[in-house]
Symmetry: C2
Subunit: 486 residues, 2 copies
């Protein structure tokens, strides 16, 4: 049964109350809530992983790893909010000699936005769904969350939500701080609801753009953090190709195969020097044939993957190296085209095939590497396969202007949850290129700065008082000062 | 002559080239460009101030002060980018024991967006116009700027732009990194131009919202940093009223009068305990009569101010304390209504009268203070007039949820350029409540994070290399480490 409009409104209002109640909690308490969720998630893995496997066809080992990642992420974000980094506490004392005239006492801290709507992604039923990075960072920020379930794993989502709600309850969090809605209508109702203050979304460019437009058209527009489409091209220098061709090809195939090609960071293109085809194709065919096959996440995804594959394959300037077909368990498919073709039809670079397919782009002249790079639209990732000491500055600069993360001799699939991670990029990779949806910086999306001017110490919010009772890192009069234990 | 579509396109393309050329410059060079502009602005004040006075009717002393503020702002933002704070350099070294699996080396830095369109405001012809906070922070970020002139001070804008361009040229900045366009059409063309990567705007809610909608509707939406409407209410506790009533009223009138009421932070409402009217009204009338009068910025503003004043005055539940009329040099007008009226018709709180008018809102019961506060829409500022030791936590919390800056016993007019300043707030105060348009943090609006994974040290962007050649503050493996001289 889909959530009705009345139910949804009641949930959002309860989420607002919970948000307000949670304002009184200390960061250490919020950390405890996240840790409680992580603990209970792990202790529920014997129930949740099989549910996930049945609904998503992703294998057991992968799902177990994903659950652990999700629990780790909750703990890391919890520790981060306790340490206070996302608060960005900045204190300017009065200064009678300030260059533009006497400076008042101004103290700034990031405060949570309110109720956040989070849309689950189909391809990571733990890490980017019910209590994935978006929900975890919104809760860490001090927001409440209403989660829109992805129809691809509804049973898992409901059970996961039970686990989350129970963990939050047992840890003493306000009731209603996390809840879940189902049904497509629920998604648009959430984006439109006046109490919802931000939206986080991971999914297709088409679906995400429609919701982005809706969020922007509200009487009061709200931030929409959408992670949409990306083809994550890999650029191979001639030198790397000469030295490591077969390894590069095998690793490339392995990266394309991850999650049956259903990763937002799957390398959709690899740009390589033109070379002897016979040997190279054999390496690719052998590697592809070894890749595990399975059903895709949903029958709809299988269909749209097939359609997008056929569309590209049928171009006269594209040929098939290996693959195609396989029914419900698609074979890995590798296509080939040339850099000249890309330069004539750069829209090919935006052709996302969400499934186990990718395209080799052959260049004849080294200058074509940068030319192809320059034609890119916004990407989550771009990659250089090169050799140490090669001058790749120009290529690296072009790629950094097109993407949120640039890799060297690695593969874009696999996004570590760290302090420096940037999972985002210019549109259409995301609708908010200044933010990341993975890593500790993801928390800041759900906060906004408030400054307090001229307050007596005792009437300031605790975190801003001189004695630094929360022991957070601060910037004082332009200089960083130590927080906890430094 | 308005800028033609062809001229505009050529300028934007030149700005893109200049942006790319400037990527090779060090932060210290960019600081030198900003300092050069500041120097030349100051040495041109004898020419610029009279031009500004003639076009805006703002007095000489105010304009001189504003020019100095603008120069100070350029130098402060320059120093900030040299110190590297806006780069937010974050380094995670490889960690084989990272909780979710081995962590690769990931290094993140904020990089400039590209060409930025800046719209000048009418009311601060220096500080929020041609080379005001928006242009200065975009240049500090490493972006190029195309500035859309406000028609209210076109001659000044052109001369200021000459000064800026000449300063940049003499300091060695790439040609075209700053230019200026005129005409209303130019504004929409800029927002639509595919090379423009962000827009900064200060002005009316209506005009700003139209451009925001346009920026969001682009094939590739871009961030739109709009500072729009705000009524900046002031809340006076009963205790403060009893102890300091007359002083509060006089200071309030002084704040309303600043710039002939044409400040985006003008207190449009003051919520006070109901009390003896005769004495109070006398204080207000006396204070108001002493305020300087002059022409407003433009005849259109005079008209729309008059219209909005009449609209509110003509409500049956609003009365006039003093003022009205005055032809081209409007008298300060103070209106009165009750907290009950506001609770019945909260839309009054959003009624912005851009000129020397404000509204007293009288409350009978102390609980009405928080009730009125709760009815507010997004604001740039809110203010508490209270006494040291009073428990204002609840009120402060409500106000912080409604505004970007909360003041204690001060007045919102006057926005110091500092590290902790927050000039922004929830819609309609701005279209991007997570950002500020004043203070050093304004720079970050024009950058986005890029992370580099697995790069050999020598192939990384310089700023991310281990030896820290730019001597910037960094966060390494989750811990802050010293930058220059700390």
């Amino acid at each position: 049964m889909d959530t009705t409009a009345e139910q949804l409104s009641a949930q959002v209002e309860q989420a607002q109350h919970a948000f307000e109640a949670a304002r009184a909690s200390l960061p250490a308490e919020r950390e405890a809530w996240l840790v409680a969720i992580a603990d209970r998630l792990e202790s529920s893995s014997e129930e949740l992983v099989p549910l996930a496997a049945a609904e998503t066809h992703l294998g057991d080992p992968r799902l177990r790893g994903e659950l652990l990642r999700t629990a780790f992420q909750l703990r890391l974000l919890g520790a981060e909010i306790r340490a206070g980094e996302p608060l960005d506490v900045t204190i300017d004392h009065t200064d009678p000699n300030w260059g533009m005239g006497p400076r008042p006492d101004i103290r700034r801290v990031n405060e949570p936005l309110g109720v956040v709507a989070v849309f689950g992604a189909s391809n990571f039923p733990f890490a980017f769904s019910v209590i994935g990075g978006d929900s975890a960072s919104a809760l860490a920020a001090g927001c409440s969350v209403v989660h829109k379930v992805h129809s691809g794993h509804e049973q898992l989502a409901k059970r996961t939500a039970d686990v989350v709600v129970e963990a939050l309850r047992s840890a003493g969090a306000p009731g209603g701080i996390f809840s879940l809605v189902t049904g497509e209508e629920s998604g648009t109702m959430l984006v439109d609801h006046p109490l919802v203050q931000a939206v986080a979304f991971t999914g297709s460019t088409r679906g995400g753009r429609a919701l982005f437009d809706r969020a922007a058209a509200r009487p009061h527009p709200i931030p929409f953090y959408g992670e949409l489409g990306s083809t994550n091209p890999v650029f191979v220098t001639r030198l790397a190709w000469e030295r490591r061709r077969d390894n590069i090809l095998r690793e490339f195939v392995g990266s394309v195969a991850m999650g049956i090609g259903q990763f937002c960071t799957k390398p959709g293109f690899i740009v390589v020097p033109k070379s002897q085809r016979k040997e190279m194709d054999q390496v690719l065919q052998d590697a592809a044939s070894l890749m595990p096959r399975s059903e895709m996440l949903t029958p709809q995804l299988r269909r749209s993957y097939g359609d997008s594959l056929v569309e590209l394959r049928d171009r006269p300037d594209v040929e098939v190296i290996t693959g195609e077909g396989g029914g419900n368990e698609p074979r890995m498919t590798l296509l080939r085209t040339s850099a000249e073709t890309i330069c004539r039809s750069p829209e090919i670079l935006e052709h996302e095939m969400f499934g186990p397919a990718s395209v080799l782009v052959e260049y004849s002249d080294d200058s074509e590497l940068a030319r192809v790079a320059n034609l890119l639209d916004g990407q989550l990732t771009t990659t250089i396969q090169g050799e140490v000491g090669e001058d790749v500055d120009d290529l690296r600069r072009v790629l950094s202007s097109k993407s949120g993360r640039v890799l060297w001799n690695g593969w874009p699939t696999g996004v570590s949850v760290t302090y420096a991670q940037q999972h985002g990029g210019p549109y259409p990779a995301t609708t908010a290129s200044g933010t990341t949806s993975v890593g500790t910086s993801a928390i800041r999306r759900f906060m906004r700065p408030v400054s307090y001017q001229g307050f007596p110490d005792g009437q300031l919010p605790e975190v801003l008082r001189d004695e630094n009772p929360w022991m957070v890192e601060r910037r004082i009069d332009g200089k960083r000062s130590a927080g906890r234990g430094t």
